[in-house]
């Protein structure tokens, strides 16, 4: 009976899934900033003891809004997202999607109609655990 109970407990423990980490292979998106208009930019810094660096730039490319993370690097974590936010927290935000990689030049399309004056903060945000990894206030 002890073996049965131990086996059942093992099954229960293994039923708890692990969280997915963000890819680490460097990306190099093809977005060409020379063909777009720079609207705002800021330097990324880490938060809560996480290391994040690089430049966040907001472009208008023929009417399409794009966020470019250049020379980017971030600590790894599960469910990392790129947010545009009204504050340095996630009080009100636009989710641009999952972070493509912890390193490299990467671009994210911004939904049409987003007010970049209002959503001026770029956040690297762990959605699953509601934790801020890094941020940039763009000007």
């Amino acid at each position: 009976m002890k073996k049965i109970i131990f086996g059942l407990l093992a099954v229960l423990v293994l039923a708890c899934g692990a969280e997915d980490a963000t890819p680490t292979a460097p990306v190099n998106d093809t977005f060409d900033p020379t063909k777009a208009t720079l609207l705002r930019q800021g330097n990324l810094t880490g938060s809560n003891n996480y290391k994040v660096s690089g430049v966040a730039q907001l472009y208008n490319e023929n009417g399409k809004l794009v966020l470019l993370l250049d020379d980017f690097s971030s600590s790894n974590g599960p469910d990392l997202r790129v947010y545009l936010s009204t504050t340095s927290g996630a009080a009100s935000f636009v989710n641009l999607g999952k972070l493509k990689s912890t390193t490299g030049k990467q671009s994210y399309e911004i939904p049409a109609g987003t007010n970049l004056t209002e959503f001026k903060f770029v956040l690297i945000w762990c959605q699953q655990f509601s934790s801020l990894f890094g941020k940039s206030e763009t000007n």
């Binding site: 407990l9 423990v13 039923a15 708890c16 996630a90 935000f93 636009v94 655990f129 509601s130």
Partner: protein
């Protein structure tokens, strides 16, 4: 509707076999359940009538206390008009949901042998307690901070019309002796939060969000 069907079935069987019902049995269980970053502890007590010529059918009513705890769980729009169409559902993400519910429940079981029993039980009506929790409202690419409390009133209805925190189990019991059994179950547990404001505004205003958890559980049952 599920409850109605179940109760109709229950009373029909009781009525049809009343001449044969001469014994009852009481079960009390303590159960722990676990899933993906969430779990529950429940304590239940059921009074069952043993029906049929062989007295193998066990059907009855009881009560259950369920304490649910989770970490970073998503809750989707709860009202049926929204929940029935995934395109109409938004969600909230709660960092540390925790609810405590007391419900009346019904149970249907079958004693395969003196050692083994199978069955199903489900909460039907009750109330829930728990503290306010902070979370994030997610609507497509948009999001904002929010907070809410566990929905106070629980009731089992048809489909997504359910309200509040409701627990249910498909279980198997192995009896070591006449009084003590181990219970293995698949627990399906609904928990629900009501946000402080009607944070969802389209396609209709909504403040209720539900999490449906499938949990593997293990318990001890004592027969009284």
């Amino acid at each position: 509707m599920k409850l109605l069907i179940f109760l109709l079935l229950f009373f029909s069987i009781v009525a049809a076999t009343s001449a044969q019902t001469s014994s009852t049995v009481n079960y009390g269980s303590i159960t722990g359940a676990i899933g993906n970053s969430q779990g529950s502890i429940s304590i239940d007590y059921f009074h069952l009538w043993k029906l049929g010529t062989a007295k193998k059918i066990e059907i009855g009513v009881g009560g259950r206390f369920t304490s649910y705890f989770g970490s970073n769980q998503y809750y989707s729009s709860a009202p049926a008009a929204l929940a029935n169409d995934v395109a109409k559902t938004d969600s909230i993400l709660l960092g540390s949901p925790q609810v405590n519910a007391i419900n009346l429940a019904v149970n249907l079981g079958y004693r395969l042998s003196p050692k083994i029993g199978l069955g199903f039980n489900i909460d039907a009506l009750g109330f829930t307690l728990g503290s306010k929790k902070n979370g994030t409202y997610l609507n497509g690419t948009q999001g904002e901070a929010t907070s809410g409390n566990p929905t106070s009133f629980n009731v089992l209805l048809v489909g997504n019309n359910d309200r509040g925190t409701l627990n249910s189990e498909f279980y198997a019991r192995y009896f070591f002796n006449e009084k003590l059994a181990i219970k293995i179950a698949y627990q399906f547990l609904f928990t629900e939060y009501t946000t402080d404001t009607q944070i969802q505004q389209a396609p209709e205003a909504n403040d209720r969000f539900r999490n449906k958890a499938g949990l593997f559980s293990l318990g001890i049952t004592k027969q009284f």
